[in-house]
């Protein structure tokens, strides 16, 4: 029996340096951060890895079951410091995201949407009543939430959204369609962003509201173990107190995106680590020309390059985490992390796929699954191009994306 599945808190007892951390980034972590990471790693190994291939193949995700477990473990809304949540520091939170995405990016999306997008929206912009009603239920997993910003004709440019909220007496009437909404079909509430007479505002929309429907999107080749849906709002009537009172304009959703992007900076390094570890192991056991393929110089170069990017990406995530807690993060700093780490993770996944040859294309190994998942992760929460242009604008003072 390995202690990994039942005993050790690595780091409290020092272990040899692993190929995934030759430069000892672990040395920067506190014992508590390592213990928190162990909880996530053990859970993913025990609960997710044995099943995720099947979920992926069938295009299913047992959202209700997992929500309950994630709630009990304390993973939902873990970064929020409230009476119902743990208030983890940003590095501990990031480490959990990394371990979860080492399982599957779909699972990490589930946690990110609940915690960083929706949890943050209600925590930062909700009324005390809204917080008291929803945060405890979302933390425990009793309520699942989704975040509706994108629309069929409004992606990188969310300011062009058409969904509208109009006053009718004290009530609001919502009309419009949201698209590509993670958790849409399995949610109890949707945080929906809509145009009003005084700019974009956020609304908490119960999924059982008359006129609200969620249609799941099928035939996906990425994030198959994740629910992605279209939300249709046809004259949905909401009381006045459904609106998030504390924010007006695109600043609201963009602030939530910043939180979620920070989690992605860590998360994708988990997917990358899983690919790298798989390729490394394979390269030592697979023999061609009477030698392990890992003994060929070309393979060693691939492995070395991947290891370097894994270390650099993890260090970048770590740096942003400490900075976030000490000074706060500027959007362009998050863009540096999101752009670099998703791009490098995808590259690592593709290189690892090659090292596995034909075996690399199956679900028997995690690589192709991570690789296709990362195609979504590099698109959502701001595409590669958008983050490039955000950084470009900071560098030049010239805005290139309108």
């Amino acid at each position: 029996m390995a202690l990994g599945s039942g005993g050790t808190f690595e780091g409290v007892s020092p272990s040899d340096l692993q190929p995934t951390d030759l430069i000892d980034i672990d040395h920067l972590l506190s014992d508590e951060e390592k213990q928190i990471r162990s909880v996530a790693r053990e859970w993913v190994q025990r609960r997710i890895l044995p099943e995720v291939e099947d979920w992926y193949e069938k295009g299913e995700f047992p959202a209700r079951e997992l929500a309950k477990e994630l709630g009990e473990l304390g993973f939902f809304l873990m970064q929020l410091d409230t009476e119902w949540t743990l208030g983890l520091n940003s590095v501990a939170y990031g480490l959990v995201e990394l371990e979860i995405e080492a399982g599957d990016s779909g699972l990490r999306s589930f946690v990110s949407v609940q915690s960083a997008l929706c949890g943050h929206a209600i925590h930062a912009f909700g009324s005390d009543e809204q917080k008291a009603e929803w945060l405890p239920k979302m933390a425990s997993g009793e309520a699942i939430a989704c975040f509706g910003l994108s629309e069929p004709d409004s992606g990188s440019d969310p300011g062009s959204m058409r969904t509208s909220a109009k006053k009718d007496g004290d009530d609001w009437i919502l009309n419009g369609t949201k698209m590509w909404i993670t958790n849409g079909g399995c949610s109890d509430i949707a945080i929906v962003w809509a145009q009003t007479d005084d700019g974009v505002r956020g609304f908490i929309v119960p999924a059982d509201s008359p006129g609200f429907t969620a249609n799941d999107i099928h035939k996906k080749l990425s994030l198959r173990a994740s629910v992605t849906s279209e939300l249709v709002m046809d004259g949905v009537r909401l009381p006045a107190d459904a609106m998030l009172p504390e924010v007006q304009g695109l600043r609201g959703p963009l602030s939530c995106l910043n939180e979620a992007r920070y989690g992605i900076v860590w998360g994708v390094m988990g997917a990358a680590r899983s690919c790298f570890e798989t390729a490394l192991e394979y390269s030592k056991t697979r023999e061609q020309f009477d030698k392990p393929i890992g003994s060929f110089q070309l393979t060693q170069k691939k492995l070395t390059d991947m290891a370097l990017e894994l270390y650099k990406g993890t260090l970048l995530a770590y740096h942003l985490g400490r900075l976030k807690d000490e000074k706060g993060l500027k959007p362009e700093q998050v863009s540096v992390g999101k752009l670099n780490n998703t791009r490098e993770a995808l590259e690592i996944a593709r290189t690892s796929r090659g090292i596995l040859g034909a075996n690399g294309i199956t679900l028997e190994y995690p690589i192709m699954r991570h690789m296709t998942n990362l195609e979504s992760v590099i698109t959502y929460e701001g595409t590669e191009e958008v983050h490039t242009l955000v950084i470009g604008e900071q560098l030049t003072g010239l805005k290139a994306f309108t």
Partner: protein, 256 residues
């Protein structure tokens, strides 16, 4: 309901332990954690306290600084407090010395139940809990594969080679719990965060009123040799005699 759970830090069971020149296990710098065998006992304790609606679980360990990791894990699983006994003179302690030290620590507070694993994953002597029972003058119920508590009486199913015995004893008692008797819970983030503020006491021999004489091992390690390598086994080619040969092998092994 006060329960003391014996907890031991052991090196990673799947790894190869390092043996020092003195024949003792090198713990410093080794990879390891809470003995997986102890988790079954801790889980049993947690379930008893949860069923009783109140109670306190104290983790008790003897070991150097590194043993703190075992306590932390147990606290994260839900134990209430930890006690670690550490003393230079305890290096190389044998089973009897360990039992004396642990028994002295257990006696400091009122308790209803002491729970241990059947044997540790590194030493495999399986003596310590029984010795503690003897030193405390209490019944020792070993190999519990199931336990029920009612009205201050514990009933266990004691695993035997042939099946099980039902053994009943009034508290306080010492028991050992088999692997598989319970399904140990995994620590949650909440548990890890809560563990931070749980008290851990560090005690020396003098705190326990023990002296050097009490902890002089009666056993010393004379020599350590590698276990003989496993024999290659036998490959049986498939032909008319195969079935008979397999039956013979199973009979020799007393499996059938």
């Amino acid at each position: 309901m006060n329960i003391v759970v014996l907890t031991k830090w052991v090196p990673e069971p799947e790894g190869t332990p390092t043996i020092g020149e003195d024949g003792l296990l090198v713990r410093e710098g080794a990879d390891g954690g809470l003995d997986p065998g102890d988790e079954y006992g801790l889980e049993a304790a947690l379930q008893l306290v949860e069923a009783a609606g109140d109670g306190e679980i104290t983790l008790l360990t003897m070991g150097p600084e590194i043993a703190q990791a075992a306590l932390q894990r147990g606290l994260a699983m839900g134990a209430h407090k930890g006690v670690r006994i550490t003393d230079e003179s305890l290096r190389g302690a044998d089973s009897l010395v360990t039992a004396r030290v642990l028994a002295a620590a257990i006696k400091r507070q009122p308790f209803d139940l002491v729970i241990g694993g059947v044997e540790s994953t590194d030493g495999y002597t399986g003596i310590v809990p029984a010795a503690i029972a003897e030193l405390l003058g209490l019944p020792g119920l070993t190999f519990a594969r199931e336990l029920h508590l009612s009205d201050g009486t514990l009933t266990i199913e004691r695993q035997t080679a042939a099946g099980y015995d039902v053994v009943v004893a009034p508290l306080p008692i010492v028991i050992t719990v088999t692997a598989g008797a319970t399904e140990p819970r995994y620590p949650s983030l909440k548990g890890v965060m809560a563990a931070k503020s749980k008290p851990v006491e560090t005690l020396t021999l003098s705190d326990l009123g023990l002296s050097g004489d009490d902890v002089t091992p009666t056993q010393t390690v004379a020599e350590v040799t590698d276990a003989p390598p496993k024999q290659g086994g036998e490959t049986v080619e498939f032909d008319d005699t195969t079935a008979a040969r397999i039956a013979d092998v199973l009979a020799e092994a007393k499996v059938i």
